[in-house]
C-alpha cells in the first residue's frame, strides 16, 4: 500500500473583492472537485496580478483535488473542508489503479473479536450490529471446528449490486462494494440476495443519532457515517482508511495476525498485526487459500487460509453446526 492518492482540497481566491465574490459563488455551485483546476489557474493569474500591484508574496505549491500541482501565494490560501458532493464523487469513483484484497488466516483466529469492536467503533454501530463478525464454524460432524471472521466479501460478481433498484449499492473500480445511505430506499433486496448475510439494516434510529443531531457532519460514503435510519449499512473495506494509506480498522485491530490486506495489482498484502508484507500469490498458493461459496459464482475479494495447525483450541463444539442427524 503505497501510492499516496489522497489530495487536500483547497480553495484559492483572488484578492480583488468583486472578482473574489463571484468566484466563490462559482466554486460553491460547481463543487470543489470540478472547479479546482480552473480555480488553480485563476489563482495563479490573480496571484501574478497581485504581485504586480503590491509587491512580493511568498508562493507555495499546492495539490488540487484533481491531482495538479499549482502555485499560489501563501496569504491567499483558505482552509476548506470536503463537502458532500465532493465526498460522493470521490467515494463513488474509488481509488484508481488499485484492486483491494483481503486474506484471512483461519489458523490464527482465536475469536478475540477485536476486529468487530474496532469496526463498530469506527462506523458507529451497536454491539450486535455488524459489518464484520466472527463465527464459530464446523463444516461437518467430524471436521475441525474453527473461528471465522466474516466481513463483506466484496464480490466481483455481487448479487446485491445486481438487485439494487436505485444504484444505492455499487461496485467501485478498486473492487470495493459500497452503500450510499443517501440513496438507499430501504427495500432490503440486497440483504435477501447476499448469501454471506454480510449486510445489516438500520431498523431503528442509529446508535449515534443524538450526536449526529448535535454535531451535523457531511455524509461520507466511504465511512457510511452518519448512519441513517431505514437504510442498509455494510462493510466498506474501510475505504476511508485506504484513501489515507492505512490498513482497515479491523485489520489493524487484530491482535493475532489473522488479517492480511493489500492490492491485487501489486500482488502484495500486509499483515495487520505484524505489518509484514508478503506476496499475495505465494501466500494463497502455499496455504491453499480459498474463497467462500465459490460455487455460487460471486467471485469474492476475500480469501481464507484453511484452519490448519490452529494456534488455539476450540473448547466447545460450536452450537452452529447446521447438519441435522449426525449432530448428537
Amino acid at each position: 500500500m503505497n501510492n499516496k492518492s489522497q489530495s487536500t482540497p483547497q480553495g484559492n481566491d483572488s484578492h480583488k473583492e468583486a472578482k473574489n465574490k463571484s468566484r466563490r459563488e462559482f466554486l460553491k455551485r460547481f463543487g470543489l472537485a470540478g472547479a479546482a483546476a480552473a480555480a488553480g489557474g485563476a489563482a495563479l493569474y490573480s496571484g501574478y496580478q497581485y504581485e504586480k500591484a503590491k509587491g512580493k508574496s511568498e508562493m507555495v505549491r499546492v495539490l488540487t483535488d484533481d491531482n495538479r500541482l499549482v502555485m499560489v501565494p501563501r496569504d491567499q490560501i483558505q482552509e476548506s473542508k470536503p463537502d458532500q458532493a465532493f465526498l460522493q464523487k470521490r467515494g463513488r469513483n474509488g481509488l484508481e489503479g488499485h484492486r483491494w484484497v483481503m486474506v484471512i488466516d483461519l489458523s490464527k483466529c482465536r475469536n478475540a473479536r477485536q476486529c468487530v469492536k474496532a469496526c463498530q467503533k469506527a462506523h458507529h454501530l451497536r454491539p450486535h450490529e455488524y459489518h464484520i463478525t466472527t463465527l464459530e464454524m464446523q463444516d461437518g460432524p467430524k471436521t475441525a471446528p474453527y473461528f471465522m471472521p466474516k466481513p463483506c466479501q466484496h464480490c466481483d460478481n455481487p448479487p446485491c449490486v445486481s438487485v439494487c433498484p436505485v444504484d444505492a449499492t455499487f461496485k467501485r473500480q478498486d473492487g470495493i462494494v459500497l452503500i450510499d445511505n443517501e440513496r438507499c430506499i430501504g427495500c432490503r433486496f440486497c440483504m435477501s440476495a447476499c448469501p454471506y448475510s454480510a449486510r445489516m439494516f438500520q431498523w431503528q434510529e442509529p446508535f449515534m443519532a443524538e450526536e449526529y443531531e448535535e454535531d451535523p457532519q457531511p455524509y461520507d460514503v466511504e465511512l457510511n457515517v452518519p448512519q441513517a435510519k431505514g437504510t442498509i449499512s455494510k462493510c466498506l473495506f474501510s475505504a476511508d482508511r485506504l484513501r489515507d494509506d492505512e490498513l482497515p480498522y479491523c485489520v489493524s485491530a487484530c491482535p493475532n495476525g489473522v488479517f492480511y490486506f493489500g492490492d491485487e495489482n501489486e500482488d502484495a498484502v500486509t499483515n495487520g498485526t505484524t505489518k509484514e508484507t508478503v506476496r499475495l500469490s505465494a501466500l494463497l498458493k502455499q496455504n491453499a487459500g480459498y474463497r467462500l461459496m465459490e460455487e455460487l459464482g460471486t467471485k469474492p475479494r476475500v480469501y481464507y487460509l484453511p484452519p490448519k495447525n490452529r494456534l488455539f483450541d476450540f473448547d466447545n463444539q460450536p452450537s452452529s453446526y447446521k447438519g441435522d442427524d449426525e449432530k448428537a
Partner: protein
C-alpha cells in the same frame, strides 16, 4: 342456460336492468359497513405512523429475516389480482359465455388487489419518502424495476378493462337512478361519455375489449412471474428454483378463484342477484378451482420433491424445517386444508353448491395467504452461514402486533375499494346479459 323465463326479451331486459341497478346507491347498511372499515383503517394507519416514527424496528423483521409478513402479503395481493386476467382474459378469449355475469366482479377484485399491492410494498420500505428514487435513479437490472413497471401496467389495464365495458351500463343506469341519487346520476352521465347504444359504438366497444383482453394476458403472466423472481434470483435455499414463475402463477389462479367465489356469493345474496349468479356459476367456478388446484399441486410436488430427493445440505435444512420442524404445522395445514382437501372435496358435485364451495374457498384463500408466508420467511431463517452473536429474538421471525395491524389495514383497504366500486356501479354487466338473452332467444 336457464337464467330466467321471460315472456319477451323486452321484459327480461327491463327486469335485468332493474334487478342489477337496485343495489346501486348508498344506504344505511353501506354507511355502517364503511364506517366500521374506516375505524379499523384509522387504527391501522396509526400503526403505520408508529412505524414511520420508530423505523421498521416495530416489526419482527431483523437482519436475518429481512422480509416477512409485508412481502408475503404483497405476493398474495398480486396473486389474487390475477383472477381478472384468468376470467376475462383466458376464458373470455376462449369464448366461454358463462363468465359474463361474473367477469366484472373478477375485474373489481383485480383492480382492488393490484392497487393496494403497491401500497403494501411501500409499507415495507425503510425510506418510503424516497419512493421517487425508483423512477429517478431506477436501474433496469433490478427485478424491482420490472415489478413496478408491470404491476402499474396491469393496474392501468385492469382499470380500463373495468371501465370500458361499464360504459353502456352507465348510460342505462343514469336513466334508472333513484331520485335520491341525483349526484350519482350526474357522475354516470359524465362517465358514460355520451353513450347512445349505437350499434357502431358497440362494435368499437367489442373491438376495444378484445384488444385489452389480448394485452392483459401477457401482462398478468409478467406481474406474477416477475414477483416470483424477486425470490428466485437470489442464491438461497428454498428460493433458488427454476419453476418459481409457473409455480407462483398457478398458485395465483387458485387464490384468485377462491377470492372470486367468495365475492360472488356475497354479492349474490346481498344484492339479490340469484337470477344472474346461479348455482351453475358456482359449480363451474368450483370446477375451475379444481383444475387450477391440480396444476398447482403438480408444481408443489416438483418444488418440494425434487430438492427433497437430492437433499443438498442447505435444501435439506430448509425442507426439514417445513416438513417436521418449526413450520410443519403451518406447512401441512396449508397444503392439506388449503390445497389437497379442497381439491378432493370439490370433485363431488354437492360440494360445488354455493354454500359448500364458499366455505371451501375460505380455506383455500387463507391457505393461499399462509403459503406465501411459508415461501418468504423460512428461507431467510436459514442462511448459509450460522446465525451467532445476535439477540435471541433475531433468530426466529415473529410478526409483531404493529406489522399485523398494518397488514390488516391493507386488507381493509382492498375491501373498501371493492365495496365502493360494487356499490356505486352495477356489479353485473347489464348490456352483456341483454345481449346474451337476445342471442339465446332469437334462434328459437
Amino acid at each position: 342456460m336457464a337464467l330466467a323465463t321471460p315472456n319477451t326479451n323486452q321484459q327480461f331486459e327491463e327486469r335485468a336492468a332493474n334487478d342489477i341497478m337496485r343495489p346501486v346507491g348508498l344506504n344505511i347498511k353501506f354507511h355502517a359497513w364503511m364506517g366500521v372499515l374506516t375505524l379499523v383503517l384509522i387504527a391501522c394507519l396509526y400503526a403505520y405512523y408508529t412505524q414511520l416514527r420508530n423505523g421498521l424496528s416495530v416489526t419482527g423483521l431483523r437482519d436475518y429475516v429481512n422480509w416477512g409478513m409485508y412481502i408475503a402479503n404483497f405476493v398474495f395481493f398480486v396473486a389474487a389480482s390475477l383472477i381478472g386476467m384468468l376470467i376475462s382474459g383466458v376464458l373470455g378469449l376462449l369464448g366461454f359465455q358463462w363468465i359474463k355475469p361474473i367477469a366484472r366482479i373478477a375485474e373489481i377484485i383485480a383492480v382492488a388487489f393490484a392497487a393496494v399491492a403497491g401500497l403494501v410494498i411501500v409499507s415495507d420500505m425503510g425510506r418510503p419518502d424516497r419512493l421517487p428514487f425508483v423512477f429517478l435513479y431506477g436501474r433496469v437490472q433490478s427485478p424491482i424495476l420490472w415489478d413496478v413497471t408491470v404491476v402499474t401496467t396491469y393496474l392501468v389495464l385492469s382499470l380500463i378493462l373495468y371501465y370500458v365495458p361499464l360504459l353502456p351500463d352507465l348510460a342505462i343506469g343514469k336513466t334508472r337512478m333513484n331520485h335520491n341519487h341525483g349526484w350519482l346520476a350526474k357522475i354516470y352521465d359524465i362517465l358514460s361519455l355520451n353513450w347512445k347504444h349505437d350499434p357502431e359504438q358497440y362494435n368499437i366497444l367489442h373491438k376495444a375489449v378484445r384488444i385489452l383482453l389480448i394485452l392483459i394476458v401477457p401482462t398478468a403472466f409478467a406481474i406474477h412471474t416477475v414477483t416470483s423472481w424477486l425470490f428466485a434470483v437470489n442464491p438461497r435455499a428454498g428460493w433458488d428454483s427454476t419453476i418459481f414463475g409457473p409455480y407462483f402463477l398457478t398458485g395465483a389462479f387458485v387464490a384468485g378463484c377462491a377470492a372470486l367465489i367468495i365475492a360472488m356469493y356475497f354479492f349474490r345474496s346481498n344484492y339479490k342477484l340469484h337470477r344472474y349468479i346461479t348455482p351453475e356459476h358456482f359449480d363451474k367456478m368450483g370446477k375451475l378451482l379444481v383444475l387450477t388446484s391440480i396444476i398447482y399441486l403438480y408444481f408443489n410436488i416438483n418444488e418440494y420433491l425434487v430438492p427433497g430427493y437430492k437433499l443438498k445440505e442447505a435444501d435439506a435444512i430448509h425442507l426439514h424445517e417445513l416438513f417436521s420442524g418449526h413450520y410443519a404445522p403451518l406447512f401441512w395445514g396449508t397444503q392439506i386444508l388449503g390445497l389437497i382437501l379442497p381439491l378432493i372435496l370439490l370433485l363431488f358435485k354437492p360440494m360445488r353448491k354455493p354454500l359448500p364451495v364458499l366455505i371451501i374457498s375460505f380455506f383455500v384463500l387463507a391457505g393461499a395467504w399462509a403459503k406465501r408466508y411459508i415461501i418468504v420467511v423460512p428461507t431467510l431463517e436459514h442462511p448459509y452461514l450460522p446465525k451467532q452473536y445476535v439477540p435471541d429474538e433475531w433468530m426466529l421471525y415473529q410478526p409483531t402486533l404493529t406489522e399485523t395491524a398494518i397488514t390488516i389495514g391493507s386488507i381493509v383497504l382492498v375491501l373498501m375499494i371493492i365495496s365502493v366500486l360494487a356499490k356505486l356501479f352495477p356489479v353485473i354487466p347489464i348490456w352483456e346479459i341483454e345481449e346474451k338473452s337476445n342471442q339465446t332467444t332469437e334462434p328459437s
